[in-house]
Amino acid sequence: MAEEFLVAQDLYKSFNEHKAVNGVSFTIYKGEIFGLLGPNGAGKTTTIRMLTTVLEPDRGHVTVGGHSIRDNADAVRSLIGVCPQELALYEDLSAIDNMVFFGRMVGLDGREARAQAMAHLELMGLVERAMGKVGKFSGGMKRRINLAIALMGHPELLFLDEPTVGIDPQSRNNIYETIEGLRDRGMTILYTTHYMEEADRLCDRIAIIDGGQIIAMDTPYQLKSRIGPLEQVTLEDVFLKLTGRRLRD
């Protein structure tokens, strides 16, 4: 039996009268890549913000590595790394300065922060641009830096919120390979994306969320086999069948 690393139980979060998350429960096992898929406004980002201790749930309980996010948020934060959907970078600083800054903020000393920064930049193929101002980087390079920052401090659980949105195939491929490499090294990952082939390639299990509730959760293989023969069905078919074809805001 795999070790449970993140357990979310019955999470609720409302903004004014709108129920953004409405009773979400799931478990992520150590070393797996768990996909959280859903249309726009389904509740993915709100769920991630609660799991990363940024937002407090109205109800429900979450433990990460055995620590409750309510009672021991600091311990939870020391275990996680977050790559937000937005490019959460300082564009006027160099790549290395960005990485060292966030490294220091997760508790690394100066030397260690610099060493990890260089190692992660190398992993992302950006070591030659270490001293370059991030503001002058291409979209793909910024995305890679965004991910590299999340790796500072070697977190045990990584939250990747649409890390490949809007980038070229080369950068996307680099990010895929990086994520696969991280999984091979035993890192646990929660992954959200709108690209179904990406989820199919990377995720061990997938939860589909809509209207603030999880409407399906299984391996990509099992999800696809629910609606037809594997050779004819894609994950996108599953997604559209479960969430409908109605356009979302």
Partner: protein, 407 residues
Amino acid sequence: MKQLKHIWFIAMKDLKLFAADRMALSFAILYPFLFVVLFNFLLAGIGGEDERLELHLVTQEAEGGLSHQIIEALQTKDESQLKPGEPRIVWTKDYDEARQAVEDKELGGFLAFPADFTEGVLMGYGAQLEVIAHADAFNTRAALNGLARAIASRVGAQRVANHAIIGLLIEQGLIGQAIQQLFLGQEAIIAEEAFIGFEIEKVGKVEAENPANFVIPGYLVMFTFFTAGLSAVTIVRERQNHTLERLLAGSVRRESILGGIFTGTVAKGLIQIAIFWTAGILIFGIDLGLSPAAVIILSILMVLMSSAFGIMLATLVKTPRSASSIAVLASLVLAPLGGCWWPLFITPEWMQFIAKITPHGWANTGFNKLMVFGADFSAAVPEMLALVGFAVVFGLIAIWRFRTSAV
């Protein structure tokens, strides 16, 4: 300890960003100096600079008349011999040209002797001096009136004395009626000896006030507040691009983020005031007064208050654009109201009263007390307390908003 480290790293990061942002540096340091240089020049007259007054005299008499002798005696021949405060007296030859110059505001005014001045004085029916001055030229008009009165009184006194002597001689039979006419004809010669002196009494020493003593504090107050206000834009932008959220998810507490941002903003302000005061002393020769420590403390309190305002603003607005609009608007409204553009002590009482509702007004009053009016530390304590009050109010609002919804 960990939280203090976080505060330090965030503050250092903000300073690095500040140093990398040329526009921000210009707003914080270069622009204020351009304003200081400009207004230092424009406000140079305020505070009693000792400019020499120029008085023009004109006569409409023909050459040889008494007025020619008076003007000749009065006019300034060597300006280097004039004492401080003494006017320069200029003989202007053409009455019509002088009048036109006054109308054109090229000349403040002049004193004119009439064409029958000598005849009027000698024949005893008097003469009318004419002072022609522009309505705006208060000082020149007053000086010319004084000069005209002095001339009239000296000529009159001389005439009375001459008549008394002649009358006495006639009464005692020492001279006859025929000779009386001769004496009257010689009156000009008698008058010439004792003729007219013009004396200026100068009470005390007029010392020119260095305008930088109120221009630099004024612009320091304005731009410290402006820079801190604009830091709200950076904070809102950080909130929008989720760097603050990233920090929060990375084991940094809200208090540390707030403390770091505040420390960074304060550090920028301190750099600003250090540059301001250093340049003020070295370049503009400002005088920090009897209590430089009070000036420094007042400056630091101004920075703290402005930083608290900047963070409060960041927590109250949603977009960088609204943050920048409000920061600019607040700075441009509060600066003149609070006496940053002109010294409060030259404004009407109602403006000085309005200034009290602005932190700028308190800060500028404190600086003026210390640097212009020579007050000591204790005199500026009310202004210091007022700035602390503003800082506490702004800070409490910022903390309340930051804890609830600002990130």
